[in-house]
Structures are given as structure tokens and as C-alpha cells.
């Protein structure tokens, strides 16, 4: 079996990313909740790089696609869209928290100022 350069390169980068992510989870720099998507995507890339035909045909069969290339593209577009939507929701939630905090700080600062003036 011929091993091509991209197979070595992609799987090497993928494995390095998985190790780095797991290390971050163990050392509590990030959580599994934040990292699961990256881990799944990396494992998918590693599998695709090592066994391109077997994995892509299997995915095409599961999704009932005639072409394995279309199946992979569809899967990746789907995964990235899901990631985009979930990131967008989280960013919106964080924005709401930041605004709420900013308003509370402003109101508190004004209250302190008023109390100082009274004293």
C-alpha cells in the first residue's frame, strides 16, 4: 500500500492536536465541553487521511450518497454549520452577560459617587 505525503502530514497534525487538546483538558486549561468538537473533527481527519477510501465510502453508504466525495463535503459543511450556529449563540450569550455587567458597574459607580457626595 502506497502511503502519500498528505496522509502522514494530516494524521501527524491531527494526532498532535488531539494530544495538545487532551493535555489542556487534563491540566484544566480547557474543558471537554469546549473541546469535543475539535477532537471529533481531528479524529475524523486522521481516519480520512489514514484510510481515505474505506472511511469515505462508509460515510457515503451511511448517508446514502452516490459519490463519496460529495458525502465528505456534505458532512464537513454540516459540521461547520453546526459549529458556526453554536458559536454564534454562545457569543450572543456572552455579549448579553458583558452588557449586563457593564450596566451594573455603571449603576454601582454612580451610587458610590452619590454616596460620597452625601458624606
Amino acid at each position: 500500500m502506497d502511503i502519500r505525503i498528505f496522509q502522514i502530514l494530516v494524521s501527524f497534525i491531527g494526532i498532535a492536536f488531539v494530544i495538545w487538546t487532551l493535555k489542556n483538558i487534563i491540566t484544566q486549561k480547557s474543558s471537554l465541553k469546549d473541546s469535543w468538537f475539535g477532537l471529533i473533527l481531528s479524529l475524523l481527519f486522521i481516519m480520512l487521511a489514514l484510510f481515505p477510501d474505506a472511511v469515505s465510502h462508509h460515510i457515503a453508504n451511511i448517508l446514502d450518497f452516490k459519490s463519496n466525495v460529495n458525502a465528505i463535503l456534505f458532512l464537513l459543511v454540516g459540521l461547520l454549520s453546526a459549529a458556526f450556529v453554536s458559536t454564534n449563540i454562545r457569543v450572543n450569550q456572552q455579549n448579553r452577560h458583558i452588557t449586563k455587567l457593564s450596566k451594573e458597574i455603571a449603576l454601582l459607580a454612580e451610587e458610590i459617587k452619590q454616596n460620597k457626595t452625601k458624606v
Binding site: S102, A106, L107
Partner: protein, 227 residues
């Protein structure tokens, strides 16, 4: 009868150091003493200049947008049990003389919210670009809620009922449409009053543009879908 001392004029301001002084002066000249400047995390000395007039200032620690500043103004008014809250742009485009028209409209029609309408007064010279943005924003707002007037005007007067009832969430310019849509939902009485505006190069550099318009539309859709 609405007493002037019951009205608090709130100026959401972001980097308005060059004009905030003259805006405050013109409000004082029209007999209104209660002014609050909501500094939306300005990098310049907007708050310092406003403070020299002896008025109240509230400063958001970081820039969050005109919507966040408006939310803060309403929350402050709610906490302090303010009877009437006037929201007015701090860039000098709104004429302080129109404060009387706004109050009179609220009194005459027993309105809960009065929105300054820039398009009734034919003396107003409104640049085509600004007219276009407002036209599109009005169409968009009307798709969400039936309101055929100047939906994007920042000149607004709220009574105690509106101050207590409104819970706004949009940080940016979308707050103008959000306020109308939520007020209609709460069955608040909204009226509009003709106002005078004067656009300068400075004020034109501040308001809506195409990019902000798209962002506003998206934030409204987002909020409507409750994402």
C-alpha cells in the same frame, strides 16, 4: 400637567466631547435642569466635560452601543422612580426647542411613548442617504410590527408606565425598533411628534450606515427568533 422638574433628559453619548457641552447648554436654555449623560465607554473626555455642568453622568466601562446606553438609562430611571425620561441624541442633531413639543404631545394624547418624527417638518434638510436608510429601516420595522412613522428616531419621551414595562435587550441601533415592537406588544400608547433636526458632517459621521443597518436587521431577527 407635566412638570419640567419631573423630566430627566438622557443623552447616550459615545466620544461626543466636541459637542456635548453645547447640547447641554441648549437644554438648559430651554429650562430643563435634570440631565443625565450616559457615556457609552468613550475614549475621549465626554464624561469630564459633562461633569463640569454639574449634571449626573453614568459611564459604561466599555463601549456597548447605543442600545446598551438606552437600556442603562431606562434601568436608572426605573431605580430612581423617575416619572418621565427623555432620550435625545448627544451629537447635536436634535433641537432642544422640540422638548416642549414632545411633552405637549404626551400630555395631549395621554401617550406612554412619544417618538420625534423627523419627516413631518419640511424645513428639515435630511440627506438622501439618511432618508434611504430610514426608509429601509421603517420597512423592516413595519414587517415586525405595524408602525408607519419614524422608527429610527432617537428622540423619545417615555412615561413612568413605559419605563417600568420596557425590558430592552438589543445593544446596537436595533433598540429603536425593539422599543416600538415591545411597546406595541405591551399595548403602550405610542404617538409621534414633529421635530426639528439639523445634520452636520459631524452628526452624519455618527449615525446609521449600510453596515450598521445590516447588523441592526440581523440583531432584530435574532431577537425576534429569540436566539
Amino acid at each position: 400637567m407635566i412638570d419640567k422638574s419631573d423630566i430627566y433628559i438622557c443623552l447616550p453619548a459615545y466620544n461626543e466631547a466636541s459637542v456635548i457641552g453645547s447640547v447641554i447648554k441648549s437644554i438648559h436654555e430651554n429650562g430643563f435642569e435634570n440631565i443625565i449623560v450616559i457615556d457609552d465607554g468613550s475614549d475621549d473626555n465626554t464624561t469630564d466635560i459633562a461633569s463640569t455642568f454639574g449634571i449626573r453622568t453614568l459611564k459604561l466601562p466599555i463601549n456597548r452601543g447605543v442600545g446598551a446606553a438606552t437600556q442603562l438609562a431606562i434601568e436608572y430611571a426605573r431605580n430612581k422612580k423617575i416619572q418621565y425620561l427623555m432620550l435625545m441624541d448627544a451629537d447635536g442633531q436634535h433641537s432642544a426647542e422640540c422638548l416642549h413639543t414632545m411633552i405637549e404631545t404626551m400630555r395631549r394624547h395621554q401617550a406612554d411613548i412619544v417618538i420625534g418624527n423627523r419627516f413631518v417638518n419640511e424645513e428639515n434638510i435630511i440627506p438622501t442617504k439618511r432618508r434611504l436608510y430610514n426608509f429601509l429601516a421603517n420597512i423592516f420595522t413595519n414587517m415586525l410590527v405595524d408602525h408607519e412613522h419614524d422608527s429610527q428616531s432617537g428622540f423619545r419621551l417615555l412615561n413612568r408606565k413605559a419605563i417600568d414595562a420596557l425590558n430592552l435587550e438589543i445593544d446596537g441601533y436595533g433598540v429603536c425598533s425593539e422599543m416600538i415592537w415591545k411597546a406595541k406588544k405591551l399595548e403602550l400608547n405610542i404617538m409621534d411628534a414633529p421635530i426639528k433636526v439639523s445634520y452636520t458632517d459631524y452628526s452624519l459621521s455618527k449615525g446609521q450606515n449600510f453596515g450598521k443597518g445590516v447588523k441592526t436587521a440581523l440583531s432584530l431577527i435574532n431577537k425576534k427568533l429569540k436566539l
